[in-house]
């Protein structure tokens, strides 16, 4: 695998680093305090390729905590709320778009 340090990173807008938590697979986002959060609104938002690379490098270093960190686009609304930038990320945050066979 190419290390994130060597990867060419292009981002087209505000982005976050997301991954899955190792022990249960849950969707997590890198926060600004060198940790992970399951809450997108607490994620660190990066806007330049350099910042994205730095955050990705730091995230990848936490191999015990998270699997497969990558950069995902987000929309930052006028009031500051963060929304996923595409359908895939929307589904990762909100869960399946269907009713589960057994209600939670």
């Amino acid at each position: 695998m190419t290390s994130p340090l060597q990867q060419k990173i292009k981002i087209t807008g505000p982005s976050v680093i997301t991954a899955n938590r190792t022990w249960d697979g849950a969707v997590i986002y890198r926060d600004g305090q060198h940790g992970w959060t399951t809450d997108l609104s607490s994620a660190a938002v990066v806007r330049t390729a350099d910042d994205a690379r730095a955050l990705l490098t730091e995230s990848t270093a936490d191999d015990v905590g998270a699997i497969g960190p990558y950069i995902a686009p987000v929309d930052v609304k006028d009031d500051g709320t963060i929304e996923p930038g595409n359908l895939r990320e929307q589904i990762r945050r909100q869960g399946v778009t269907i009713d589960l066979p057994v209600p939670a």
Binding site: T22, V27, R88, V96
Partner: protein, 551 residues
């Protein structure tokens, strides 16, 4: 049912403790994800969008009631109360925690169930006709040969790292319910002119990015030579298969690039050099496996008992019987298909409660045996006809008696973007909408046999290429679009469907399918000309016209 021997039980138990240790080391940081990934995949553990997914093999689609109860237990205890039956006679649990996986595996091991070779570049679960052993007219029970292949291929040192995954399917009936022509190796059990039992061997079928229908490499391989012949194929593939490019690594590409004649010649050379080696199957070996399959002590019954005649006055029962009950090789018995395709539900899902209830019904009415088919439905293979009315009432109560088997609402769909990390688009909500559109049973019945298959990306887990109507999700500028093909089929006349035109947006898919079905109803020559036959006769043009005239 097949009774596993001590070797199998030991193997499975060793695997569980091995995996427990590996998970422990992963969670403590001793193993990195790069190191661990291979190990988890060897135990059927994938990472999906929101969680780990755990794929468990159901060898040749046969489950005992106790095994089904264990599936229910895993669903309830470690997952979210349900499981998903797939097109390869596996079950998948979608929400399992890595930390819980060793316990889940250990619980399953108690009933001889495991997840070995449900992932990775090895021989995957060997699949067959879900009516194996009970279908009238079958040459013999194909599961005997599945089991021989299973033992041969399990942890086979030479073939654990093939260029790519490898899938076998076997049928022993004239009508192919196992889709053998879209597998890496398809085997059709039949008798030659001399009355000897053997296999027509097909090779190089497969779906995915580049679909191919399997080609016959040898019309007759005697049963005793099955393993050596298969080994010859695997050796040629192992040697020449493209390891440099994952998209070209399946055997279908090798067969296509070399041509079937050249490929067959290579295999023949290899085989002649080794055919009389230790792999030759003595009659005793085959008999030993055969003897480990037990069959029910059927009663002497006759067809059409009074209980059945009386019940047929109820139109609901009769609609279900006509749709979901098939003839059995024994008089007085039937094969009953349980539809996991309720109107508005996700195809192939069953809740833990349903699984438990089905296990109880299997004990009561089907000698404790359940089957899983590639259409993502279940079957009870040995039901006395006189029990059908009572069974129907019980199945209806738990929601698995929708009389839609093989109809337009019996949709095969992959998990798509609701679960799968490789997906472009969603599949399940499309299937759900279609079932609502065609919810009226009389309409669906009038349309007749029609298979709709949906995949959320080109990997084709939903077999869209071989759906009578195939729906493939593609992404365009971040939006979900779907390509529609028609005329595909997966049976003994397997063909890949033809694209009818440009992809349509998510919101239009159900309308397009309705248009296609309406065009068919208007154009069919007779009420019993099936959709698939009408497409063959008419070509795609009239359907294309109908769909795109106003779009």
């Amino acid at each position: 049912m097949y009774a596993y021997d001590e070797i199998d039980r030991t193997l499975i138990n060793e695997r569980v403790s091995e995996f427990r240790d590996q998970v422990k080391r992963r969670l403590s940081g001793e193993l990195t994800e790069d190191e661990f990934k291979m190990l988890r995949l060897m135990n059927g553990v994938y990472l999906q969008l929101h969680a780990y997914m755990f794929r468990v093999a159901i060898p040749y689609g046969t489950l005992s009631a106790d095994q089904m109860r264990k599936m229910a237990h895993v669903a309830r205890r470690y997952d979210r109360g349900y499981g998903h039956f797939t097109t390869r006679q596996n079950i998948q649990f979608n929400w399992i925690k890595l930390a819980d996986l060793p316990d889940a595996l250990e619980d399953l091991a108690k009933v001889g169930i495991h997840a070995m070779q449900t992932s990775g570049n090895c021989t995957r679960n060997i699949t067959t006709d879900q009516w194996a052993g009970v279908a009238p007219g079958e040459v013999e029970d194909p599961r005997i040969w599945c089991e021989l292949l299973r033992q041969y291929s399990t942890m086979h040192p030479e073939f654990s790292f093939l260029p790519r995954k490898f899938k076998f399917a076997i049928t022993a009936s004239a009508h192919d319910r196992a889709a053998i022509k879209v597998h890496d190796i398809g085997l059709r059990l039949h008798k030659n002119d001399g009355g000897e039992t053997g296999f027509e061997v097909l090779v190089g079928g497969g779906l995915g990015r580049t679909p191919f229908i399997g080609k016959t490499i040898k019309p007759f391989v005697p049963g005793r030579d099955l393993l050596s012949y298969v080994e010859a194929i695997l050796r040629v593939y192992n040697q020449y298969g493209r390891r440099d490019n994952i998209y070209k690594a399946r055997i279908k590409i090798l067969v296509h690039e070399l041509g079937i004649e050249k490929f067959a010649a290579e295999v023949e050379d290899e085989w002649l050099a080794m055919r009389d080696n230790a792999l030759t199957l003595d009659d005793e070996v085959v008999e030993d496996i055969r003897s480990r399959f037990t069959y029910p002590h059927y009663k002497q019954l006759t067809d059409l008992p009074d209980e059945l005649k009386a019940a047929s006055a109820d139109p609901h029962f009769e609609a279900w019987r006509l749709n979901s009950v098939a003839p059995h090789r024994r008089p007085g018995y039937s094969i009953v298909t349980l539809s996991l395709k309720p109107i508005g539900g996700p195809p192939g899902d069953a809740t833990a409660d349903q699984m438990d209830a089905i296990a109880d019904l299997a004990d009561k009415y089907s000698f404790g045996e359940i089957r899983v088919g590639h259409e993502q439905n279940l079957a009870l293979p040995h039901v006395a006809q006189r029990d059908l009315p009572a069974l129907w009432r019980a199945l209806d109560k738990i929601g698995v008696a929708t009389p839609n088997v093989n109809l337009v609402t019996d949709i095969i769909a992959c998990p798509g973007l609701d679960y799968c990390s490789l997906a472009n688009t969603r599949s399940i909500p499309i299937a759900q909408e279609l079932t609502r559109r065609f919810a009226n049973h009389d309409t669906a019945n009038l349309i007749g046999r029609l298979h709709v298959n949906i995949s959320g990306c080109i990997n084709a887990c939903g077999h869209h290429h071989v759906g009578h109507i195939g729906i493939l999700g593609v992404e365009k500028n971040g939006e979900e679009f779907y390509q529609i093909t028609i005329g595909g089929r997966a049976d003994e006349h397997a063909v890949v469907g033809t694209l009818i035109g440009p992809a349509v947006p998510y919101a239009d898919v159900a309308d397009v399918v309705e248009d296609i079905v309406e065009a068919y109803l208007a154009l069919r020559a007779r009420p019993d000309e099936l959709f698939i036959d009408a497409v063959k006769r008419l070509g795609v043009e009239p359907f294309k016209e109908r769909v795109y005239a106003t779009r």
